[in-house]
């Protein structure tokens, strides 16, 4: 086996190498999972408490704003939104921080660096599953079995993670050189939150008296599709589905992924010099 080190700036996506480091992927993921709630009093209960606190806040808020449904229905709907949103926001944040958080490894040892953002995702998935399970139990108690469409959830999960990974990878790469990202990121997450149907329904937004082009922009946001689709998986109805907007939002997700990978690969070799 021969290895050649050159002075070229760009690297290529080497999936074979990534695969040979699958053990590392596993242990980094496990590290993040087992370290996450260390030295906290309630431990893993935080992965339930965080969504519950959010649901309480935004459930009340949404009842005040949108009175079209009964409060209990509203609360369940908001819960679904918050749970999926929590996955999106933590996945973006964790991916964005994955390179700077592992700076000590990046400057001391060679490894396929893409493994760091990839391995930061597992922790978000586990948090999601814990919260989702609790949600389903509550849902079944109040509303009976969810729609059969629930079988689509895993696909939606993968789609959501691809979106978060792409977006997060851009921030992660930028943050190697510019730590400003750390301060900008919370605002971006906040904007995404209000630009998505997390605690208000898409129907409610579309009925608002706002310019038409804003509604179009709103609907091509990949997160709008994801959150609506997640509610579809549980309730089985998708009122505002629009094939054109879906295709555009899908293209946006794909574009983000391609751009982020390209950006990452262009700078990957210089990480240790800047971090």
């Amino acid at each position: 086996m021969k290895t050649v080190i050159t002075s070229s700036d760009k690297s290529i996506l080497n999936l074979g190498e990534l695969k040979s480091y699958s053990g590392l992927f596993k242990y980094l993921s496990l590290r993040d999972v087992s370290v996450r709630y260390k030295q906290t009093k309630v431990g893993f209960a935080w992965s339930i408490l965080r969504p519950i606190i959010n649901i309480a806040i935004f459930g009340c808020l949404s009842i005040l704003v949108d009175k079209s449904q009964s409060p209990s229905d509203k609360f369940l709907m908001v819960s679904a939104g918050i749970i999926f949103w929590q996955l999106i926001s933590t996945a973006i944040t964790e991916t964005s921080n994955s390179l700077t958080a592992n700076a000590n490894i990046l400057t001391k040892v060679y490894l396929p660096k893409l493994i760091l953002p990839l391995s930061s995702l597992l922790v978000c998935i586990i948090d999601f599953f814990i919260a989702f399970t609790i949600f389903l139990i509550v849902f079944i108690i109040f509303k009976g079995l969810p729609a059969w469409q629930i079988v689509f959830t895993p696909f939606l999960l993968i789609y959501g993670l691809i979106f978060c990974f792409g977006l997060g990878l851009i921030f992660a790469t930028a943050s190697v050189k510019f730590r400003d990202v750390k301060f900008i990121l919370p605002f971006i997450i906040q904007i995404l939150f209000y630009a998505s149907p997390v605690f208000l329904n898409t129907e409610f937004i579309l009925k608002l008296n706002i310019p038409e082009f804003v509604k179009v922009i709103y609907q091509i946001n990949p997160l709008v599709f994801m959150l609506d689709a997640f509610k579809y998986c549980i309730y089985g109805s998708f009122e505002n589905f629009n094939v054109l907007y879906f295709c555009i939002s899908f293209a946006i997700t794909f574009l983000i992924l391609v751009v982020s990978l390209k950006y990452f690969l262009n700078f990957e070799k210089s990480f240790a010099d800047y971090i």
Partner: protein, 424 residues
Amino acid sequence: MSGVIIKAENIGKKYTILHSQRNENNLLLGSVASTVKSIFNFKTDKKVSEEFVALQNINFEINKGDRVGIIGRNGAGKSTLLKILSRIVKPTSGTIEYEGRMASLLEVGTGFHGDLSGRENIYLNGSILGMKKNEIDARFDEIVAFAEVEQFLDTPVKRYSSGMYVRLAFSVAAHLESDILIIDEVLAVGDSTFQKKCLGKMEDVSANQGKTILFVSHSIETVLRLCNKGLLLERGQIKAIGEMKDVAKAYLDTNTGLHSKRFYDRNDRHNPGGDKIKLISVIVHDANFENKEEFDITQPIGISMEYEVVAEDLIFTHSYNFNNEEGINIFNTHDTVSDFRKEKREKGVYKTTMWIQPNLLAEGVVLVNVAAIKIEPFTILFHELSAVSFTVMDYMRGDSARGEYMLGFPGAVRPLCNWTTIKK
């Protein structure tokens, strides 16, 4: 057996450094104040970019099974070369080809996490260093036995003593399976018994397992013992290459080696003093200001540094740190006496002398770091590591702390203490 395993051609590494003209301190208030100032003066920060050549024209070939010691003073480019070889940073020019699997050990315990148990850290650290799970499984017991941490495998490593921590970390790395092993001075840690064990393990790895090893160290003694080939770097270039003995001799013979006096070129932009102070010389001498390599333990030892202050309005004091050959910091001292330390200095050449009292240092080699520091706020103007070295000798006349005792005498310092015994 023989055959080229690593071939480096024309390796170079340049860094671009941006100097901002303000600075002095990066404290929040200072930077806010100077930003405001620059707005009102309509001046933008002048950013001066300077190219720093860390390595250039590095060409070498390493044969399979060679143990290569890489030596050179601080800043000679040793670590940069290792980082390029281990693919952590990329060279700005040139190519390197190597055969087989390479493992690099630039730090003990890369990726160790304090909250994880010893067992979990073995797997995590091993996989970071490039081991597969089945390889770690196969050597797990060996790793644990070598580190001597059997009882604490399920304790979080943050509860480990620093000795245990280092032992475990080294042990994982020592059991790496690779064809080429790159090691930076990681042995400068742990207690001396364990250091010996590590050295033994490395000898075993290189001699019996036929691995190719690249080893960076400051300790000539260690590289002479471990390595058969040597590579001497000076200011980013290869100064000597070949048999370890010859390279070590070249290192000690030239100015790159350590002596009890050292002169610096004031016009060299690599002058350790930087752009505000130019270091001229550092000399170790006896009470008569005579420069020597060896000093009587019962006599005072003086250390003088000469420097030129080139910037306006500098306030600083002088500092020396003393280390012994094992890298143990014996003591630090800074000037708390001279009136200069609180005043803005006039430009010009100064000479500062400090005296070490008799009967303080233990026998052996002492390395001196020289620095200029500002106490409030604490700032380091320059800090030249291992600027000079000298040897303390006990001539066994019976007037030192040894008295009539002639055998091995441990301890970093050897003061002559007062003893009284009365019969009650």
